[in-house]
Amino acid sequence: MSATVLTISSGKGGVGKTTTTANLAVALALNGQKVVCIDGDIGLRNLDVVMGLENRIVFDVVDVVEGRCRLRQAMIRDKRVSDLYLIPAAQTRDKSAISPSDMVRLCDDLRSEFDWVIIDCPAGIERGFRNALAPADVVVVVTNPEVSAVRDADRIIGLVDAEEKGPARLIINRLNPAMVKRGDMLTPDDVLELLAIELIGIVPEDENVIMSTNRGQPVVFDGKSRAGLAYQNIARRLRGEKVPFMDLEEKDGFFHRISRFFKSGGD
């Protein structure tokens, strides 16, 4: 077995990187994949909270890198699903506690045992971003349909290309179909026209995401949530399946147009 190292990044904070990481990890694990997540946000860890594993942290990624524990000891097993693990970030240190080559070594150690190593990248383009990017095989950029988020995504895509880790793939998170319909929100077409990379998912805005995040229960576990379904579809696309972009809301027909766009536009 040789894992794919997937780095989830965005540039701008608050667009849903951590939520996306948690949900894709759970969705892949529900599909029978062996998954380990690494929280790259040293000093501002969140992934453990979103996954509901905060109270089980003993060792963290910095302990592993600095040799205070074995890799296995820092891996927290998620009991709700088989073969899902989390390596949490340290909360009392900062990004300079580990280096890009530490991350490459760490991921190489994990490769033989897993199908996916998913790294939750911190916001920004500094050390934390470079740590998360160094070991990546695949980079997914998360953005919101907002001008500032798209601008930062553009910068990240450029940096990913420069490190020869590209082309990155795109997730548009928190799309509000009603606002798009009113012309008050950027459409996926607007976003793609600027970023010009492959789209692997659109996640609609969904109150369930906030509720489930607060409960530490990723929304993918909720079979009825539209956002959860969107994450499941993204997980399948990451595994190479051809999954049509879903009609999220039949009534306004907007997503019909989107799916048509991708049929004609996507390779």
């Binding site: 470079r130 940096l159 290309d161 420069a162 020869e164």
Partner: protein, 231 residues
Amino acid sequence: MIQEKKLTVQIKGIRDGLLISLGEGEWTELQDTLIQHIQERASFFKGARVALDVGNHILRAIELGGLRDKLSDQGINLWAVLSNSPTTEQTAQVLGLATKIFTPRPERTNQAPTHHADGELSLLIQKTLRSGVRIVYEGSVVVIGDVNPGAEIIAGGSVIVWGKLRGVVHAGSDGNEKAAVYALDLNPMQLRIANYIAVPPLRKGKSTPEMAVITDGQVEAIQWETKVGGK
């Protein structure tokens, strides 16, 4: 041994930290020499801001990025790369590193040509310039691709964009009012020619190729027709 190292790696203090000059030689070896040199004086280098003069080495992102990470492992912050090669400069710019420092560069025997007839020098960029990329060039710049918002081109000559121009462009940056900006879709965030600045109104929908020039002391966008463009 020490003597030999001095030839390939020279270090001096400048106003903005340290300037490290690398000489000729095989890149991997040179890099190892540099890292070894730094490790021997780890406490001196820890936390230093470093500008790197790579001379004539032509470096791609993987090499320059690799070195930056190695330096970062040693607690050194690489902020600028000086080079005689436009390719290397471009790489550095893409990686978000400065390519100019205020201190004058050390004398070099083989300088890039500085005397040239107007319009002879140009830089061809065959990719989309994304947010955060800044291209500074003394001649004209030709981009085959888009210039996205947040990207900047500063050219001594004209700027030609075979794609959508939505970033910031400064043509004729050394005061040349004859410089022009051409684009298939001319929709920049801000456009400067010589000392004139224009903020074009936001436009939606289809557009035709246009050129921006200075006429009667104003930046004006005109349709780019064969007879205008051909002159």
